[in-house]
């Protein structure tokens, strides 16, 4: 059900375009299915803290992950459920992070979207927007220093995140180092409630590419095949040594900033515009139109995915919660350097 990194590479190398589209589509559908369950869990009071969804951004996010290969690095942000699944994340691990299971990758120490598996090149985001860009750069520098060629690092940032100093420093650093970084700017028209007019004054965010001396591309983020095409090109250009690739995708956030937010401030005209299309519906129609799938198969997949998520929830809900009295309250790997009060007082 969930693709592994290995199968991703086989797919990139051997499979047809149709199979690639279908595979990315399945990651999108899984992301949507998973997030719908998350919403129910959140409304049922089962999740501590916030829930931030990527509704409407699944095509872009999944296409990015499905453009990557084994050994590549991916640093997703809050709306990248599609990409996380496409990069091979087990939904159980996603759930473990939301539900605070100590068996999850973050062991209940960090939650919700702050999860990853660095050893697999899946970097766990921290909250501060822009701060993952230089971290991806660092992994790419490390690979280059060890003579490992052909690694691509991919990360995303919102329209709001482009206003940070971290974004500027990170992209400029990647450009100076000519790193194989694919930086996807997801312009979903809002940063929480703030419209783009309060965020930047350039005509188009892709204009920034020139200033940084990197390749820039624009993209309709609601169209899965376009996303696969453009991101596939961008990752390959990065892999071939042409330096950072800035891809600016336009779409609309089809949910609140978080599940606590009713997004009443979203302009109805934007909702009615092409930006407001639901990428999952667009992709489903395209599949049906091309005869690459049919209504029965789509429904069957959806059902299988629901069952998969349900069974993952059942498994994770049976897992123990963390024991604060057995927690290892030490923040250093060098245990001999931990202050004694780390152990005694907690």
């Amino acid at each position: 059900m969930v693709e592994t990194a290995e199968s991703r590479t086989a797919e990139m190398q051997g499979r047809s375009w149709k199979d690639r589209v279908l595979q990315a589509f399945r990651s999108m559908m899984m992301a949507r299915t998973f997030e719908e369950k998350l919403t129910s869990l959140y409304r049922g009071g089962k999740i501590q803290g916030g829930v931030y969804l990527g509704r409407g951004q699944e095509a872009l996010s999944a296409a990015l992950a499905h453009s990557l290969r084994d050994g590549d690095v991916f640093a997703p942000l809050i709306r990248d459920t599609g990409g996380r699944i496409g990069f091979g994340e087990d939904v159980k691990d996603a759930l473990r992070t939301y539900l605070g299971s100590p068996l999850g990758p973050m062991r209940a120490r960090d939650g919700n979207v702050h999860r990853g598996n660095p050893k697999r090149g899946y970097l766990p985001m921290m909250s501060h927007l822009g701060s993952m860009i230089p971290v991806v750069n660092g992994v790419l520098v490390a690979r280059r220093m060890r003579g490992i060629n052909g690694t691509v690092g991919a990360t995303t940032i919102g329209d709001g995140g482009t206003s940070t100093g971290a974004f500027h420093e990170g992209l400029n650093q990647a450009a100076v180092e000519k790193l194989p970084l694919v930086l996807v700017v997801v312009n979903n028209q809002y940063a929480y409630s703030t419209p783009t007019s309060r965020q930047f004054a350039c005509a188009d965010l892709v204009d920034k590419a020139v200033g940084y001396g990197v390749d820039g591309r624009s993209l309709d983020g609601t169209n899965l095949e376009k996303c696969l095409e453009v991101l596939g090109d961008a990752t390959e250009r990065a892999r071939e040594g042409h330096g950072p690739q800035l891809v600016v995708a336009s779409l609309l956030r089809l949910c609140g900033h978080g599940e606590h937010d009713d997004a009443h401030y979203v302009d109805p005209q934007l909702k009615a515009s092409p930006l407001g299309r639901d990428c999952l519906e667009v992709a489903e129609s395209a599949l049906l139109e091309k005869g690459w799938s049919d209504a029965v198969s789509l429904e069957r997949w959806r059902e299988e995915m629901r069952e998969h998520v349900e069974s993952a929830i059942a498994t994770v809900q049976r897992e123990p919660s963390p024991d604060p009295y057995r927690e290892d309250w030490t923040a250093l790997a060098s245990r001999h350097l931990c202050e004694p009060y780390s152990e005694s007082e907690g």
Binding site: M132, P134, V135, G138, E169, T330, A333
Partner: protein, 321 residues
Amino acid sequence: MSITYLEAIREAQAKALADDSRVFIYGQDVGPFGGAFKATKNLAKEFPERVWDSPISEDAMVGMAVGAAIDGMRPIIEMQFADFSTVGFNQIVNQAGAFYWRTGVRCPITIRLPSGGTPGSGPFHSQCMEGVYAYYPGLVVVTPATVEDAYSMLVESVALDDPVIFCEHKYLYYHLKADALPSEALPIGKARLTRAGRDMTIVSYGAMVHEAIATAETLQGEGWEIEVVDLRSVKPLDTDAVMASVARTGKLLCAGEAWPWGGVTAEVITRVATEGFALLDAPPVRLNAKDTPVPYHPKLWSVHRPTSETMAAAARNLLRS
């Protein structure tokens, strides 16, 4: 042969680069130019692939180091001045400091902070940041006061599996000299009894250790035996060594060059007051810089931070109490 504190820092980096191919140095002007203070002189020539210039982007410098460290490298980041590390603060405290605890993946980075005041350096080239970084979990913070420690603690810092904030004191760069590099060393986490005494303990670190030694010498002429403890690392803080000294002398003066609110001196006094109250014959005394930005003019600067004169005055009061 004689070697300065600054040369010891260069030598430690040369050794780290030579011993371990995972080590690299990244910072402003550290490449062919050899660094603003020449702490990386000739290193880019010897290790061209592993010593290079960064843009003026402290946030991205540290972020990049984190990425490289979690992928198996051992970066050394040179901040041009400790003061500029504030621009990389987020990556230092939130990314590097939290990474191991969050993920179980080690994040071995050494961040060198040319710290502390020198005459004429002013508000933005003089700061002592050790207390700020020590506040955050997940960071080791060291403050070498001798040429030997500058060398051995830097070598050890690079070998540690955690982020280390290496506060090297600029005031000591040129005028502190040793005959040779050390062949053995006290480990990070152990304080040093710099001078034995029985009437009072002065606990300090970094450049203040030398003011403390001068104070002890002055007071020796007045008949007092002052013990001087050099903390060496402020996190972890060697509470046992401090307590043992206070047990011998019964009196504690704690001096730091940092600002007075909170910080290392407050931490030392808190620990002694809470864990060793009965050892004290008099209330402990703290000595810190004035609570203003660091002044530019040498005359103003000379009284902004504690000196052997103000330390001796505070010590006399304490000795008489």
